[in-house]
Each structure stands twice: as C-alpha cells, then as structure tokens.
Symmetry: C2
Subunit: 153 residues, 2 copies
DNA sequence: CTCAGTGCAAACCGTTTGCAAACGT
DNA sequence: ACGTTTGCAAACGGTTTGCACTGAG
C-alpha cells in the first residue's frame, strides 16, 4: 500500500510538471487506473466508478485527454467495440506493451515483448521514418477459448 | 486496364461467393478502391466521390461494412483523427500490410514487411494464443517532414 | 416474382463545448 | 485574488436504423 502511494506520487509529479493542478477528481481517476492495472477502461466505465463522487462526464473526458497528453495514459482502440479505452503508462518502462485481443471472449492480454526494436531500426533505415511510437494488436483466439465453443464473453 | 478488369472480377466473385448481390453501387465503390490503392478512404470521402451518382450515405456505410465482413476491405483507425478508414485487401497476399503514420503531415506509408511472423510464432507458443490477424501502426516523422518545421499537412 | 438492397430522414451515442460557479495554488 | 477546473446541459458528428420503394437474380 505504501508502494502504491509512492507510485501515485510519481504520477502526480508529472501532472505538476505540466503546470496542471492536482484536483480530487484527477487523483481519484488516477487511483482507479493504479488499482486496476490490467484493465482498459472506457470513459463511461470510469464515470460509473465515480458515481459516489459527483464528478461530471465532461470532467472525465477532459481528464483522460489531459492524462494522455502528458503521458500518463495511452489511448487504445480495440476493433471489438471501437470505443476509446485508456491504459496506464508505466513511467519506468520506455516501451509501451502490446495487446492480444481474443475474438471470442474479448479478453485483452498484455505482452511486454520488445521484438519490435529490430523492426523499428529497419524502418528508420529503409524508410527514413523516425519512429516515436508503435501500437501492435494481435487478434485471435485465447487459450481458454480454444477448446470451447465460440460463445459470447 | 484489362488487368484492372480481371482484378475487379476477383472481388465480384468474392461478393457472389457470400451470396450478396452485385449492384451498381457496390461495383462503383469497389472501383474507387481499385483505382486508388494507396489511399485509405473514410466513408465520407467515398460518399463525396459518389456525388455524381445518387448513392445514399447509408448505402456507403452498409457497403463498407459488408466488404469488411467478407474480406474485401479492412477497417483501419489511425490515431490522428480516429475516423474509420478502409483499405483494400490484396486477395493474393496472405498478410495484411502495416502502416507508418506521420505525426506531422498525416501521410500514411504502407509497408509489406513480414517480420511479424516470428513474433506470431512466439506468441502462439508462449501464450497459447492463436493469432488470426494483426495490426501494426508506427507513429513518427516521415522523411519529408524530418528537416522541415512542424506544420499542418 | 421475391427478397436483398437502396434512399431518405430521423435516431443514436460517444464525445465536445459554452458558460457560470467552485476550487487549487 | 487569479487563472484553472468543474458541472450542467446542449450541441456535435460519425454511424446506425426504420421503412417504403426499387431492382438484381
């Protein structure tokens, strides 16, 4: 739990560094992501989790966008539903992870593999294209769905 | 030009194979993609190109979705604008290509590299995840924008 | 002849915006 | 005190839908 506090502090520092203010709403939203690191929430899902407080939806959208612009969150869109989802950026990891999205149950698995470095180098040389970011999504069938019939999640 | 006709026939055959009808609207939309293979049109862009005929927007959306579902088009969403775009699938190429998206001018470069096969194999072994498709987008700065100042497209 | 496909306009829904009040620093 | 941030509700814009008409097979 103390570790979580230290982590939170890192993110708050990043907000301050961008001359944005620390508000209860922002801290609350940040904590939702910190406490659910394997999830990929939509704006609406965040809004639901905030029903106890009276945070408005505009604030949620504005906060999520702020966090993306300062590098705290990353927006991802899976082809399943095409809704914007947000994923906490690991401040201590240079590269963003990739996603395996199961076409059957919709589960999203994160992988940390970094084999793309080779590809990036090749692209920078061959196309003179300076890569700043990449996003890789694999669609397919996860191990749990493999044996079973094709059903909804 | 004859080659184009043969190509068109392949796609029309695919429509028939899916028990869908060949209508003037569908042929017209298909031809737009065949004649602009390097573009990634949005539904609206297609609609504009059809102003001469009186095709309705609902038809455009329904046709694009049909083409996706039968494997003639592939939907791609670039983070620049987040609008759905459509890319013709090469019926003779097993793997879909990848995209380099310039953060400065918005240009989209297609690359055919297939280094992902290695990664796919690794993923199938390590995660027991059967990959059926992948999508890889590199964001960065293209060669033309490299030297120049950062401007709009 | 029959049902899939079309056009139109209205509905949909995730997201954005304008503005006055409330708050962080 | 100042400029940010917030909440509300209305607007926005890409996409979908309902329905009667049309046309491909």
């Amino acid at each position: 739990m103390d570790f979580a506090k230290i982590e939170l502090r890192q993110y708050l520092a990043k907000i301050k560094a961008n001359r944005a203010k620390i508000t209860p709403q922002r801290v609350e939203i940040l904590n939702i992501f910190l406490n659910n690191k394997n999830d990929h929430f939509t704006a609406e899902e965040i809004l639901v989790k905030l029903t106890s407080s009276k945070t408005g939806q505009a604030t949620v959208y504005r906060t999520l966008e702020l966090f993306c612009s300062i590098g705290i969150l990353k927006k991802v869109i899976f082809k399943n539903d095409e809704i914007s989802r947000y994923d906490l950026v690991d401040l201590n990891n240079r590269h963003f992870h990739h996603h395996l999205v199961c076409s059957n149950c919709g589960k999203v698995i994160e992988i940390q593999d970094d084999l793309l470095e080779i590809l990036e180098e090749k692209i920078e040389k061959e196309y003179q294209f300076k890569v700043s970011n990449h996003e890789l999504i694999f669609n397919g069938i996860c191990s749990e769905c493999k044996g079973s019939d094709i059903n909804e999640p």
